[in-house]
Point group: C2
Chain length 144, copies 2
């Protein structure tokens, strides 16, 4: 069955970005290797922060600085509009940049976006149509 075990973010300043995610509640694992990779445990998934050039090299890709829209958003769904506001405030205080202040959406929810200190994009959303499980996963309606 398909899954995502780890989301790896390539970054220039490992320590700074690790501090940011720690302030958001992610827990740094002692499996991290100083200066190379930082592993962070979340409820349903792990994050890893990896030197941007090292990650590109590991994947056999050129490490050029990204321009244009990177085409990825990581979404944290939470249980209420208040929790959306609170999460965005926490991200902002920790050094993230609010890209879009939270607002009501045309799909009946409430959402906003922030970027981490190196531009990785996160959406924080309350979606009344999706069941939110204890560990932060959503349970999508599925057909037969």
């Amino acid at each position: 069955m398909p899954h995502i075990s780890i989301v790896t973010l390539g970054v220039d300043d490992l320590r700074n970005v690790a501090r940011f995610y720690e302030a958001l509640g992610w827990r740094i694992s002692p499996a991290s290797v100083d200066g190379t990779v930082t592993f962070l445990q979340g409820d349903n998934i792990a994050l890893s922060l990896f030197d941007r050039h090292g990650l590109a090299e590991d994947a056999h890709l050129a490490a050029g600085r990204p321009t244009g829209f990177r085409g990825v958003a990581l979404a944290t769904n939470v249980g209420s509009e208040e929790q959306v506001d609170e999460t965005l405030r926490t991200a902002n205080r920790a050094g993230g940049r609010i890209r879009k202040a939270a607002r009501h959406t045309d799909w009946g929810g409430y959402s906003g976006y922030f970027e981490d200190p190196e531009g990785h994009l996160w959406e924080v959303a309350y979606n009344p149509h999706f069941d939110l499980l204890d560990d932060g996963r959503i349970s999508l309606p599925l057909g037969d």
Copy 2:
């Protein structure tokens, strides 16, 4: 507690990319909206495919075509070297591009990379040092 509920990938050809992920075992949810967004359920997380321009616009970002390394890799950890090979073969047959054939790594594991039809990067890895849970999550060692 921190979590990632959904990873949203901006794409140009929703239908083509949805077929690719279906071939990898992700299940399309009827919550999807034809031509706008495709939601796919995985074991520990949901994927959503969203028109690349629409996603950029939603996040208040310019939608320019990405160049350079996008700086994100989604990792699927599996239980054996054979499963790494098998997952990469499945991705390749479904229209993904193998970026790096699987090989033994200097951290004692076995891993390879593929890109989906629009260049989103995935690592497939066997890591004997991390506990792999039933739903594909890993359990990182944590200090006190």
